[in-house]
């Protein structure tokens, strides 16, 4: 199971890297979304995917799944959600002000002011 998840994470990272290297700003943001999905899946995988009950003591099971990675993921999800929301609004403002979403046209040199 872990092997399949590792391959899936790898595909997500590949897609994210490819998208982040493209010209369009929106593609870059989609790439960051995929990258954080990959990272969150990786935490879950690395915590171990052994069988066990959901981490609720009411389940009265013998074995539970590891609760720590789930807490880490929950934290990382809300952080990346906040950052992504900020980044999307920033991209919207940039499009309004600069009139382009092409990263090649957003080069800043000393002559461009």
């Amino acid at each position: 199971m872990e092997v399949i998840m590792a391959i899936v994470c790898g595909i997500l990272f590949t897609a994210a890297t490819y998208l982040m290297l493209s010209k369009s700003l929106l593609r870059i943001i989609i790439g960051t979304g995929l990258l954080s999905h990959g990272a969150h899946l990786l935490i879950l995988t690395m915590g171990g995917l052994k069988d066990g009950a959901a981490p609720l003591l009411g389940e009265k099971a013998k074995l539970y799944v590891d609760p720590l990675p789930q807490a880490l993921i929950l934290t990382a999800i809300v952080i990346s959600f906040g950052v992504t929301a900020f980044m999307l609004v920033l991209a919207y403002r940039t499009y309004q002000e600069l009139g382009t979403d092409d990263m090649d046209k957003m080069r800043g040199t000393d002559s461009h002011e």
Partner: protein
Amino acid sequence: MSNNLVMMPLLIPLFAGILLIFFNRKPVVQRIISVLSSVAALLVSIFLTGTVFQNGIQIVEIGGWAPPYGIVFVADMYASLLVLSTAVIGLTGILYSFRSIGREREYFFYYPAVQFLLAGVTGAFLTGDLFNLFVFFEVLLMASYVLMVLGGTKRQLRESIKYISVNVFSSALFVIAVAFLYAVTGTLNMADLSVKISENGQTGLITVIAVLFLVVFGMKGAIFPLYVWLPGSYNAPPAAVTALFGALLTKVGVYAITRVYTLIFIHDKAFTHEILTWLAALTILFGVIGSIAYWDVKKIVIYNIITAIGVILFGVAVSTPAGIEGSIYYLLHDMIIKGALFFLAGIMIRITGTADLRKMGGLISRYPLPGWMLFIAGVALAGIPPLSGFIGKLKVIQGGMEAGEYAIAFLVLFSSLLVLYSAMKIFINGFWGEEKPIAGNPDVKGMVYPAVILVALSAAFGLGTEFVAPFVTQAAETLLDPSIYIDAVLKEQ
């Protein structure tokens, strides 16, 4: 033994930031609250440093859960000194903002963002847990995104996009690195990690993770070849913001590298620390090349940040007692002097209305105080003996010689020459020569005093090295002998 004093430098800016949100239309109230909280944070940091000096490492277990199960905040001498410098930079940065930041930014949550930035930086210095370090990185980064784009000029928007993209990527790498380390060791507490790794041996897998952490923190701290985002990004926001960034943000990355490379990944130094040595050398080289290449005041100071990071990390990489002590001295000195230099560069840009040195000249006759402050700051930056940069560089070079890295030690010496050249280039072109017509705002009343405070501190630090030495020695002892840190966190219950 838990001591809640450890949390105070973190809680004061946090609550001040929350309080400030309610007063966004009252700049006077905002200024009063900001200054009061910064002074309080400064006093608490001094008190914390004194306590750590007398009683050893102070820890606080959040919620009373013993480490490694709960989150623990640890104030050793290294972290305390950095918290103290952060408080100094925070206070002077806020004082500088009063005259320079402008009403339109003050109305839109500038001061709360500064307080959250300070809370994030302080938290990153004090935490004893790797995932908690990630969270504090995000706190300070989120505040820095807001500060960087606040005002919304075209240039700020353009550079913020790049800055955020780079940091989102490095944050994802941080999460990935934490996931790998958790899978190998099953813990996230730094002290416990160190114990687990020394028990099971530093396998190849852990060395790979160590290099991954170097990449993550190197991207935050702008080492070669991961510094390319920094010059453009730091050039965009106003000088007050750049001063906070230049003095604090990259130093958090440097702190994190130092912490993990002196506490956790210490069993395969021939490989990991050799990489760090060479990266530090290349960072110095590319930093000085940038600082002599440009005619832009801010760019010159920005490239000097990169050079200084190289020097600090070279001291850490050789990990001899002299090298570590030197890197601590140099880190403290550099936080202070970079703040002063950005304040002064901001004054020059405000007076002349341009950042181009070729369009400036002859400022010394009308602005003698900023001029001589810049001269002293430049000399201190290069490491001329009575001032603060000397002892740090001396010890770093001594450490490099002891470790047999002669070529890089000479590179550090040679870089000082070019750093001095770049600083004097600002002074000679900006302040000497014939007077050119002033295109900007000639009123800089009140802006120079924060810089005076920092330059005076730098001079006091240089002249009073005897007074600072015991603190630095204690900090270096903890970094050189991780068992002191581990015992304080895990055994003291």
